[in-house]
Symmetry: C2
């Protein structure tokens, strides 16, 4: 028997295709579910609303960031801990994933409500990263600054990673952006 | 005759009071309007929805940031231009304004939909700041990084400025946070 992706994954892929083809507003949860042989009820068992389907799996990214922080050497400086978190998170963004990420971003960029949800998710990721730094004994202000700066590097690198024609891995882009940040604040 | 604040200002003050007393969800646009002798129709002439009333006047803050960028010396480094933008924006956050800003933030922090709107406004401010830097000839990546870093400094400083017991002006806090950022990335 072949491995079959679970309902959330199938719903997410179907949602991406329908949102891209018809638009987010014009697509209902019932239509997404029906397109992969599931019911609207099943959709809402997995997602609280239609927006959430675009953010499926993001808890694993948060977890990867936190694990990166925890696994950094004991004597690592805060900015190095953040760099370790970014490297750990970058594993999710494979070349195979890149076209899906592009489609997803196009959908989000067209819809203010989705942009708001995305920003909220990123803010939650930043707050979790700051908490993980504090748990390592990093001071309050430094933890906030390092985490937010890490999120800036992540967001700017990600936006470049999904540009048409871009072929560098996310981790390589993040390394360049971090170097640019050091030059900026030097 | 005394100067009377305009309808948007009166609606905003009334909204802050009602949201704080009863909660955002439990307060209607009609109730806000009625509490200052105006109609729901007038409310929606000034604000597209109930959330927007909490963001009244923010275009002036955006404008102050942009003017700060434009007024910075020709030879200023990108991070110094951003510091100039922050100083220009800090003029809005007077000691008199601080209690209102505290109340407003308490309301926003209790409501995810308001948090999403706030993050979207801050992202727009960051994008405008980046555009103003590019208009001065700052390179694309540096402009994005400098603007986002500036937004981080602003957001972290603002969160401290409205803490109970905090008495330093916003500009002084921003100066400290910028120094901490330089130490972090050194």
């Amino acid at each position: 028997m072949r491995w079959e992706p679970g309902a959330p994954q199938r719903l997410q892929r179907a949602a991406l295709a329908l949102f891209a083809a018809r638009g987010f507003e014009q697509t209902t949860a019932a239509e997404i579910a029906q397109s992969v042989g599931l019911t609207e009820r099943t959709f809402f068992r997995h997602f609280t609303d239609k927006r959430e389907v675009l953010f499926h799996g993001q808890e694993r990214l948060v977890q990867a960031f936190v694990e990166g922080v925890q696994a950094a050497p004991p004597d690592a400086a805060p900015i190095e801990i953040v760099a370790a978190a970014l490297r750990s998170g970058a594993d999710f963004f494979t070349d195979e994933q890149r076209p899906h990420s592009r489609t997803r971003q196009t959908i989000i960029d067209r819809n203010p409500a989705l942009q708001e949800r995305e920003l909220h998710k990123l803010a939650t990721l930043g707050a979790t990263l700051a908490d993980a730094l504090r748990a390592r004994g990093v001071g309050d202000l430094t933890a906030d600054l390092a985490a937010q700066t890490g999120m800036t590097v992540f967001a700017i690198s990600f936006a470049r990673w999904i540009r048409e024609g871009e072929e560098r891995p996310l981790e390589a882009i993040e390394t360049d952006v971090l170097a640019e940040l050091r030059a900026l604040t030097a």
